[in-house]
Amino acid sequence: MYTGSITVADTPLLRYVLGRADDALVLGHRLSEWCGHGPLLEEDMALSNMALDLIGQARALYTYAGEVEAAGRDEDAYAYLRDVTSYANLLLVEQPNGDFARTIVRQLLFSAFIDPYWRALMASTDPTLAAIAAKAEKESAYHLRHASEWTVRLGDGTAESHARAQRALDELWPFTGELFTMPAGERALIDAGIAIDPETLRAPWRATVTRVVERATLTLPADGWMQRGGREGRHSEHLGHLLSDLQYLQRAFPGATW
């Protein structure tokens, strides 16, 4: 028996749900790479907690994707059997952990967006998405608080931590434009009250990030060229390596139950 990669139906709702699920899984996977290697035991625990929240969100969304597609696929089929070009996560979340400053700033930039996003999505006309959003919002509010506190500590800590935090902010900034892009097909979902127009979150996101960056005595980078493509499956080279690890057993032993 051989089970290769799957091809999923290309409908706007499925694409939308998978994109959100992929964001959560890829970022959760990245955070889980810290497990056992954190800068202090308390932070090892906190990063693992955030990883667990995000993987939990991914599971709920993939399970819902299975219902939407109605092709008999479970959460693992979407996570383990799609190739890199089928993944629709943001480029920001697949960026490598780097040092602790980079991990924290990546979390700040994402959480400052996704927390108000989930809050708005709680009013979705799609009851499953509204329920997933309600749970995810509580978790992302904590992630935002945690990432904000650490950004301030690092920015306003020592000269070294300040320099590392500023470098992380500068390097990750070009990936923030993609937060507000709207893939083809999403407009109809927004008009139907199912999804949220990310553009409406640009100002609140910027206000949150600016507030934290100022408290951290860091400098907000200028908006230059913004990278994009993740939502359409055009990723950085990093994602393929992440998926090679993530999918290894399912690919090496097709069809086995674990």
Binding site: L25, H29, S32, E33, C35, G36, H37, G38, P39, L40, L41, E42, E43, D44, M45, S48, N49, A51, L52, I55, G56, A58, R59, Y62, E75, D76, A79, Y80, D99, F100, V152, R153, L154, D156, G157, T158, E160, S161, R164, L242, D245, L246, Y248, L249, Q250, F253, A256, T257, W258
Partner: protein, 332 residues
């Protein structure tokens, strides 16, 4: 921070211990009373506990590494989440245990420095590699299983903070063991390749797990006083036998074979008799020559070194905040 409130007995600065106090102490132990941090205790009791609790704490932390090795490769999202949660539990165990050790007048920083300097021990089981996913099942089933055998009696240890930490830890360890066994069961009932993976993991982990109980009673150094102080309630060999008796039927239920041709059930004693343990391997691993000793220490040292600027930043920020609060209070 606890040191001032304790009856510290720095060696060389105090004379022989008050014989009356020692007798009262032993009477409390014999009466199954718990000794608490501010109670009088013999210096050797304190030393023994610091050594044992800190070794246990180090084992929990180093033990995160072999299992953490499979987090990014876990075969399903459910398994991935469960494994992260398990490794995170081990981190929590390390933290409670360091906190229990701190009640004896040492600091976590001191203890961690000793580990990183290679002066402190941790359980040698974590110096073996996790090569396949089945190792995650085998560790939960066997390593957590052996840890439980060792730790259940410690829930009644005479030192209060340690016994209370153990009660909390043991609950989680038994959950880990069930989870590990369930992974093994899934593999054993899976494809031929999965069953072979499970058998291979059992072959590699069985003997090192028997060594987890420590040297045979005839050679054990610490047992006599530890037994008198009710830190240790069962001998190494007794616990090892208990583990074998509990585990052999579980292996049979999985349809797996234990890698010991001498294993046989003794009807008269109702115990499983097992073959000779290769204690030379144990000594080599203890001496730093196990397959992963160097990698494990390198990983812990790297985490510590890479975290230094983060810890410094947190301290610097806290100091600035205090200064700002003081300035604001002064201005008001």
């Amino acid at each position: 921070m606890y040191a001032q409130s304790l009856n510290q007995q720095v060696e060389g600065t105090t004379g022989p211990e008050d014989a009356e106090a020692a007798a009262r102490f032993q009477a409390r132990i014999d009466a199954e009373e718990r000794i608490e941090p501010n109670d009088w205790m013999p210096a050797a009791y304190r030393r023994t506990l610091v050594r044992q609790i800190s070794q246990h704490a180090h084992s929990e932390i180093v033990g995160m590494l072999p299992e953490g090795n499979w987090i990014t490769r876990a075969p399903s999202l459910r398994r991935k989440a469960a494994l992260i949660a398990k490794v995170q539990d081990e981190c929590g165990h390390g933290m409670y245990l360091y906190a229990a050790a701190e009640t004896l007048g040492v600091t976590r920083e001191q203890l961690v420095d000793e580990l990183l300097a290679g002066k402190a021990k941790y359980s040698s089981i974590f110096n073996y590699p996790t090569l396949t996913w089945a190792d995650i099942g085998a560790i939960g089933w066997l390593v957590d299983g052996a840890a439980i055998m060792n730790q259940i009696p410690l829930c009644r240890c005479s030192y209060g903070p340690y016994s209370r930490a153990m009660i909390r830890v043991c609950k989680e360890e038994s959950f880990h063991q069930r989870q590990g066994y369930e992974i093994m069961l899934t593999l054993a009932r899976g494809t031929a390749a999965q069953k072979a993976m499970a058998q291979d993991a059992l072959n590699r982990w069985w003997w090192p797990c028997l060594m987890m109980f420590g040297p045979p009673d005839a050679q054990s150094q610490h047992s006599d006083t530890s037994t008198r102080w009710k830190i240790k309630r069962f001998s190494n060999d007794a616990l090892r036998q208990k583990f074998v008796d509990a585990t052999v039927p579980q292996a049979h239920f999985l349809g797996l074979t234990l890698p010991d041709p001498a294993l046989r059930f003794n009807e008269a004693t109702s115990h499983w008799e097992f073959g000779e343990i290769d204690w030379s391997e144990f000594k080599q691993v203890l001496a730093g020559n196990g397959p992963c000793n160097r990698d494990r220490m390198a990983a812990r040292r790297a985490a510590h070194a890479n975290g230094e600027w983060v810890r410094d930043a947190a301290l610097a920020y806290a100091a600035k905040e205090r200064a700002r609060a003081a300035a604001a209070a002064g201005a008001a």
